[in-house]
Symmetry: C2
Amino acid sequence: MTNRQIVVANLPQAVLGPEHFELQDTPMPVPQDGEVLLRTILMSIDAANRSWMQGATYRDAVHAGDPMPTYSICEVMESKSPHLAPGDIVAAESVWADHVTRPAHKLQKLPKVQPLSHLLSVYGIAGKTAFHGLLQIGQPLAGETIVVSAAAGSVGGYVGQIGKALGCRVVGIAGGPEKCAFVTDELGFDACVDYRAGGVFKALSNACPDGVDVYFDNVGGDILETTLALMNERGRVACCGAISQYDTPNPTGPRNLPGVVVVKRLRMEGFIVMDFARDDAKATRALQAWVAQGKIKVTEDIVEGLENAPQALIGLLHGDNTGKRMVRVGADP
Amino acid sequence: MTNRQIVVANLPQAVLGPEHFELQDTPMPVPQDGEVLLRTILMSIDAANRSWMQGATYRDAVHAGDPMPTYSICEVMESKSPHLAPGDIVAAESVWADHVTRPAHKLQKLPKVQPLSHLLSVYGIAGKTAFHGLLQIGQPLAGETIVVSAAAGSVGGYVGQIGKALGCRVVGIAGGPEKCAFVTDELGFDACVDYRAGGVFKALSNACPDGVDVYFDNVGGDILETTLALMNERGRVACCGAISQYDTPNPTGPRNLPGVVVVKRLRMEGFIVMDFARDDAKATRALQAWVAQGKIKVTEDIVEGLENAPQALIGLLHGDNTGKRMVRVGADP
């Protein structure tokens, strides 16, 4: 029996392309004592995957020759640990592969929800990132205005829907008229600015007649600079990602920083979803309630097949997904 | 009797120079009902004065033809208000002038400490800005490393001395070997990096073997970018000013923003001293205790004569002061 995996053939110097990946056949891995053999069902595709290629961050850097790391939902096929049994569903820090072995103590057993994809979207990384970043850093109150970039993406859509559930005015920023229509018509945002149409300052200013109180930033760069200029005093910026800066050789900084932060007394704070793990149960409960009440629609963008993972990530960096992107490697059990 | 005042003749497009100011003789102002006539004793000279010329901030913009605004310590000469009497010492939002009239209710009566200059330095804007920004935003704990830019300046010197009093490692950044020697030898910082000598990243890295936990930023620009790169996870940046960006036609942004904020989960927060006015009594009590204990040295840089105020500000922007800069317009009573 063979196994397939995708390695990073070489690290991108600028724009990520298919030439940076290589699909390999390897022997089926064999679990040792304390380990389990996992079958990959779904792999989360995130802009953060690209940032890991830029060097060590909150995790080790990815090097040429490494299997591409990912966060996955897997089924236990064989266990040499008393803590997990075949058929269990787990979350794993894994790699792009059909099968992997992992120490059982590093895995998180998951409930067998239907469909499992919800564990990567609304009840997974995307929903929790939106919930924790918006509530703990953005701290919006009813009546305030929230702006979120990459609004049609995995996290942005949940940020806006949570903001609406809390009674805020919510304005998205997305690329292209189709995505903007999706954000307002499907997700219920009050407005959405198409950054590809140009004139972002004016459009955003018109969409935010009372200024911006909370900015949930997924992109950095020019859009961060523009939104900062429209923020109200004591505004909060939840720094979630900088997708505009990952896939470029010449990142730019917002020229109004730190001046505007001082003058308006803004607070900018970065976070990653694991920082708030102790509140995950709270997040899940709230998200389940909002889904049940019809206030949150679950949006998913599932690409079929391990071999299509590189293109799924490359496309994500160009903004071609709507909703939480993931790759299906195997069927739900 | 005539009065002297200095107006902003025209607004600087780039570097501030003497040509942007004009000394004028005007009639002695006459207080109306509810007003007092004030004699200026000391005027605070701050980098913020320059930022007010860039447009509306937390206060109205300065326009060509306006008397230059300032924060002053004054003596009441004549009163048409029951709330103040001749001889009272007050703090005033005033202008560069020998005499002004002001509504009594807008003035803050001050204790008659000796010398009055301490009300602008350690017990005034400089000391309180350092105290509130460091404690409320930086939140340093003993054993952590604090970096402060413009360390030989008015606020920076107090930031570092407070940090030492709290048991932190304190590293300054200042321009030139004399200032750096002053910062370490006179103020007791653990180290000081001379940014004019170049190689700031390496020098700062060497001076901070355990990384940077708190950065008190008075300058913005390249030094902010460099210090951000050396910060530890969960570091705090107190954004107090951006002196490197005020006097230039082409401000630059830190290119590592927001990436480094996300990856290291930094918190950046801007403030102005008035934001924490409700804790001013606490600040004064602590500063008095540290001065009495010999842990804080009061450093002042007093320029004599109203007519020298433009050069005092121009020089400050080029970093030629050591300690809190002010202009003495009249004698202490």
